[in-house]
Structure formats: C-alpha cells, structure tokens
Chain length 245, copies 4
C-alpha cells in the first residue's frame, strides 16, 4: 500500500536528521546557509564558485525598500494586529507573476529558444503579443544589479550559453531604440540555468532571497508604528453611484 506522502528530501534515522543523505547536524558545523539552500533545492553540494554565485544572488535581491506591493501588503497585515508570520506570508503572497514570478517563465523560455535562436524567439513573441519575461524595468534603464551579476558570472565561471543568450536577446530588443534591459528576473533565470536548476526553482529562489527583507520591514513596523493603518481621503477617489434608495 502506498503511503500518503513520499519524499526524497529529508529523513530521520536513529533520531538524527538527514537532508539528501547529509547529517544536518554535521552539516551545520562546516556549511554556509547559501550552501544548504543550494543543497536542499538541488539535491547535491555546490562547488566553491556556485556557492559564491548563490551568495551574491541571494544578497542582491534581499530587499527593495518599502515601495513594492509585497512590503506594503506585509506591513498592512501586521498593522491589523496579526502576528509576524501572517505578515511575512502576505508579503510572499504578493510575489506573483509581476514580482519575481517572471524567473520561472524566463527559464522556460531560455531553455526552449537557446537552440532555436533569438530570431525565432522574438518572432514568436511578436506574433503572440506577449511580453518577454525577464526584460524591462519600471525604474531602471540599465539595472545595476544585473550588471553586477553579469560581471560576477564572468568571475565565477557562469558566463555560459544561457547568460550569453539572455544578453543577446537584450541586444536585439534594444536595437529599436527604447532600452529593454535584462532585468533581475532575467539574469536570475539565466544564472540558475547555468547552475543546472529546474525552472520550478525560479520563483522559490526569489522568495528565499526576499524573505529576510520582509521580516526586517515587519519588525520595523512593529517597533515604530501604531496599529491600524488607514488610507485617507487624499489617497482614495470614489467614482461609483451616488447615494440612492
């Protein structure tokens, strides 16, 4: 008979915990958190350069200020009087298709079009009218985070076929005139593919990176703000029906 849950990640043997076969307690002595994240998402240990690359990626996405919808959602939930875990959860819920969620889609596109080439890719997107995941940014014309990650990729040996392909798409996209830069979602996608991650990992990787930032904002909310945020007249425009019977 089959059991209800199957897993290949973690097991208990004689009161000890093993993650993909590694004793977690032994591991804790000699590892970095980044290394453990790599292990649990991929099932094997990173080499030194992968660990460095991962550390840089996770750091660069750790926060983006109060402004994005995830931080606003997290602070408002805390403000209603719910505990920290509820506010973190709300922040993570905002990490959807337009907020970190493009990484998975970009990974799938890069895998699909790597051999077909940029011409076929852009043609397909022109025909479907869809936006190409991983390009463009509301604020940045050139995303300094992307530039740094590309230079680190070179240093650590990850400027391979996927990063090159991602950059060649950026070149073609920007020929028209308006700059459509490879954004942080796009470079994350290319780098995760270089390291052999499954596209399914894409969004999860961003969530892991951003969670400490959300936690920090919620703690700040708890220490500095009064309960119950409320929008005021200057924030809200009503354009519905007038009072009626």
């Amino acid at each position: 008979m089959n059991k209800a849950y199957r897993t290949s990640i973690t097991t208990h043997v004689n009161g000890r915990l093993y993650v993909y076969g590694y004793d977690l307690v032994d591991l804790a002595q000699e590892t970095s958190f980044a290394k453990s994240i790599y292990l649990i998402l991929k099932g094997n240990m990173p080499d030194k350069n992968s660990e460095k690359m991962i550390n840089s990626m996770l750091t660069i996405a750790i926060d983006h200020g109060v402004e994005p919808p995830s931080t606003v959602a997290a602070r408002n939930v805390y403000s209603g009087g719910s505990p920290l875990q509820a506010a973190v959860a709300a922040g993570i819920l905002a990490l959807g298709e337009y907020h970190g969620g493009a990484i998975e889609t970009a990974m799938e596109n890069f895998k699909k079009y790597l051999n077909l080439g940029t011409k076929v890719m852009l043609n397909d997107f022109n025909q479907s009218g869809k936006r190409i995941a991983g390009y463009g940014h509301k604020i940045y014309e050139t995303d300094p985070r992307t530039q740094k990650l590309v230079s680190l990729a070179k240093k650590f040996g990850f400027l391979g076929k996927y990063v090159k392909f991602a950059l060649s798409v950026e070149d073609v996209l920007s020929k028209g005139g308006k700059k459509l830069p490879l954004n942080i979602d796009g470079i994350f996608a290319a780098l995760l593919l270089e390291m052999g991650f499954n596209p399914k990992v894409g969004k999860g990787f961003f969530i892991i990176a951003r969670t400490p930032g959300l936690v920090a904002h919620i703690i700040e909310e708890s220490l500095r703000e009064k309960p119950f945020r409320r929008l005021t007249e200057k924030d809200v425009e009503y354009d519905g029906p007038r009072p009626r019977k």
Copy 2:
C-alpha cells in the same frame, strides 16, 4: 486505533453530504445562506429571528471601503500578479487583533464580568491598563452601525442581558467626558452571546461577513488597475544611515 482527523461537522453517507445531520442538497432548496452559516457555526438551526439578526449583522460588516489595511493588503497582493485566492487570503490575514479581532476578546470579557458587574470590570481594566475590547472608534463618535444593530436587537428579541451589559459599560465609560462608544466589535460580541455562540466564533463571524467585500475589491483591482502598485517618494520617508562603505 485513533484516526488522524475527527469531526462532528460534515460526513458523507451513500454519496450524499450531511452537515450536522442535515442533507446539504435538501437544505439548499429551502435555506438561506445566513441560516446555513448559523448551522455550521453552531450545530443547530436558527429560529426566524436569529436568522434575521444574523442577516443584518453579516450585511452591516460586508465592507468598509478601500481604506482599512485588509483591503490595501488584498489589492497589493493581487497587484503583484498572484491569483484572487491569494489576495483574499492576504486581506483575511489583516483581520487581526485591531481589525475585527476584538470580538472574541469582548465576548470573553462580557461572559466574565456579566455577574461581577461594570464596576469590577472597569476597575480591573484600570489596574491592568489594557484597552477594553469593543469600545471606541477612530472615526465614529457614535457608530451608526451599532445603533442600528441595537434597534434591530430590540425588534428581534435580542436585547437581553449581554446587550444591556455592553450598553451599561458604554454609559460608564462615557461619563468622564470623551465618548467611548460601543463599536461594531462590541455589539457583535454581545449579540453573538445572546444567540449562544462560543467566543471562538467571534473572529470567524467577522471574517465571513467581510470576505465578500474583499472579493469585490480584488475583482475591481483586476478589472481597472495596472499591475504592480509601487509607493512613490511622496509616500516614503527614509531616516536610516547615510551611504557608507
């Protein structure tokens, strides 16, 4: 051997679904949603007046505009590109201690102090320095929703000991000068006790009432707004350390 889950709410018998013993399909023919809500929260059918009272309470709390933190959280989560259920969940997460959550606490207080009297109650709260759940409102000096519910309670036969006690606490609280009105949490608490609900039901009742409002706001967000809300400079003040090495 004990099974992992026990329930006395709903069961399947011969391919039919029974809620507290009532065939749900039969029930659907002759019930109102309010009646079914009462049944599932209490385990028995309401009489006609309880059904009316519940209908009024659920309606009066169905929405409070874009302004509260629950609506803001819900809209921001949707804005990040997550599906409707994620946005509803975020809205509900904001319904904490300061946002509907006082109902349960107020129910417990009213039960505890009904026989001890207002004097003991206010004395205890003065000593502990805690706010009394169910009194005071940021906007209203007299909450018109409370007044309506009190008049309906009279009409439907629920102006009993708990509502009277809740009103007598309001009287004493307002003697000093500054009005501390019985708010919607407080009158909900008193009315739910009149109908014999467990205090645990308090917060859940408010969540049920407010969910349609949250859904409506999220659908409006989906039909009228562009993705990815972002606060701007005029919303955010930074007072942390200056750039450093």
Copy 3:
C-alpha cells in the same frame, strides 16, 4: 493628480457608509446576506429569484468535510499555533485551479463556445489535449449537488442558454461511455453567467461559499485537538539518498 486608489464600491458620506449607493445601515434592516453578496459582486440588487438561486448555491458549497486539501491546510496551520485568521487564509489559499478554481475557466469557455457550439468546443479541446473545466469528479458519477441546482434553476427561471449549453456538453462528453458529469464548478459557472456575472467573480463566489465551512473546521480544531499535528512513519515514505558523508 490621480489618487493612489480608485473605487466604485463603497464610500463614506457624512459618517455613513454607502455600498454602490445604498446606505449600508439602512440595507442591514431589510436585506439578506445573500442579497448583499449579490449587490457587492454585481453592483445592483437581485430580484427575488436571483436571491433564492444565490442562497441555494452558497449553501450547497458551504462545506465538503475534512477531506479536501483546503480543510487539511487550515487545520494544520491552526495546529502550529497561529490564530484563526491565519488558518482561514491557508484554507482559502488551497482553493486553486483544482479546487473551485475551474468556475472562472468554465465561465470563459461557456461564453466563448455558446455560439460556436459543442462540436467546435470539443474539437478544440481534443486538439489541445486540455481537460474541459467543469466536468468530471473524483467521487461522484453523477453529482447530486449539480442535479439539485439544475432543478432549482428550472424552478427559479435560470434554465437558460448557458445551463442548456453546459448540459449539452455533458451529453456529448458522456456518449463515449465513461460518464463525465457536469460538476459543481460547471453548474456554478453556467448559473453565474445566467445571472450576468463577470467570469472574474467565479472563484470569488466559491471562496465566499466555503469560508464558513473553513471557519467551522478551525473552531472545531481549536476546541477538540491538541497542538502540533505531526505525520508519523505510517504516513511517510522516504526514497531519497542513503546517509553519506
């Protein structure tokens, strides 16, 4: 200058609250919760038959026992020591594509293929290989909830073009032999279209209906179970790497 939030749902005028122009406090006196739900999702008042239809639909979906993933998620979240609103949110988060989420898709399909006909519809789905939203059930060969709603639709005047189309699709689908019944998602979709709702409302309607059931299960968990559910050896099969260095 544009304000950050726009809404046509609810506004405050002179300290009173108006939903689509109706004074919420006046409304509370004479309405049913189902009527208010209709109003807030659609922007106008239901007639008597729509109100009855809505009451039946909301009731019939109010709970489906402990078994579905939404209830399990809700109970486990409460079991970790988080408050009721967090557990309700977790339950709602499980209401995804396979759990109530088919209503919106089915609504869009019915709208699209109503004039094209069942033949074109089934042809398209055969070619794409996708499942047709709103048909088939893991447990029921004929869903008694669907049958009841169809008979009520007849009684209340909603056996119109969408319900007829939905039933004709069921007929064609079941010709092959294996019964693929119109399920509760499918009949909800057809009925919501009969009443003129936007497909976006589909999933939200189901969430509203199911929330009281989730609340009831969480209160039961709080009153009857010890904290911290934990799966045991008999529930979990490990098939990952053996202990290694």
Copy 4:
C-alpha cells in the same frame, strides 16, 4: 506633514539601492547571504564569528521533513492548484506559537529572568501553570541540534551569560526525573540574545531558516504528485449527529 511610510532599512539614491547605508550591489560582491541577513535584521555587519554562528543556526533549522504541520499545509495548498508562493505562504502561516514561535517568548523570558535567577523563574512558572518556552520536545529527549549549537557557541565565543542561563534552567528542570531538554527554540533564543538581537527577531529568524525547506517540499510536490490530495475514510472519524430531517 508626515509621509505614510517611514523606514530606516533601505533607500534609493541616484538609482542605487542602499541597505542600512551599504550599497547593495557592492555588497553582493563580497558578502555571504548569512551576513546580509544579519545586516538587514540588526542594522550592522557581523564579525566573522557571528557570521559563522548564524550560518550554522540557519542551516540546522532548514528542514524537518514532511511531518510538521507547516510542510503538510504547504503541500496541500499546492495540491489544490495554487502557485508556489501561495504554498510557501501557507507553510509559513503554520509557524505559530508551537512551531518556531517559542523563540521570541524564550528571548523575553531569558532577558527578564537573567538577573532574577532560575529559582524565581521556575517559581513564577509553577504558579502561573504555563509551559516554559524553549524546553521539551515531542521526539527528542536530548535534541542533537541543541548539543551541536552549544558546542559551536563555545567555539565561536557565544557561550555567554544567556546560553549559560538557558542551560542552568535545563539542569533544574531535569532534576525531577523527566528530561525537559533545552530545545532548538530555546538555544536559538539564547544565541540570538548573545548576538544582541531584539526578541522581535526570534520568530522571523526561524521563518528565514525554514523557508528554503518549504520551497524544496513544494517543488517536490509539483514534480512528483498528482493534484488534489484528499483524505480517505481511514484518516477521518465522524462523531457528529446522524442524518435527520
């Protein structure tokens, strides 16, 4: 006029992002993720030993298998057809008072009783009848994770007053006979105090540590399991009313 949001964490200057004054893009070149987590939670950079201690703590709590309620909630939410971020959020929602949430409480207790001593502390808890946060475990009689962290604390210079106090409480608690070991929540609490963290950080630190484990389980669910988990008869016992009219 005050702006709606204030923060001292992250700001944008000339298109670059600064976390507590450190340019995030520069930081990404030379940091570890653990270091960045320390920075964003505390406002300053860790020394080498703090960074090592944090790496060990975050690793040791990265996962605890399928068994805990957080993993079950996360997998069930995904199983309903919601996206990864919704499932991660549900897992985090389960990290309540009984599931990581004791760290904050234990930090507050240790701070309060450090100077009053174990005797006063145990006396107070005996009188109130409350459980002492951070002690006892359902599975372990001696938690090997705690033992490892204590030995690492010694190595890295964190076997200070808080860890010693936490261990002395364990000694007294275990005198009676039944072992009540310092558990992972308790040692986390003592170590975070040694490093000077605010108690508010406690639960957030555990959430950050566990999020990668939750992500890994959800990806496994997505790659290996069919949608819509459903409990069966062998899991559920019904003890409510029999069918009735």
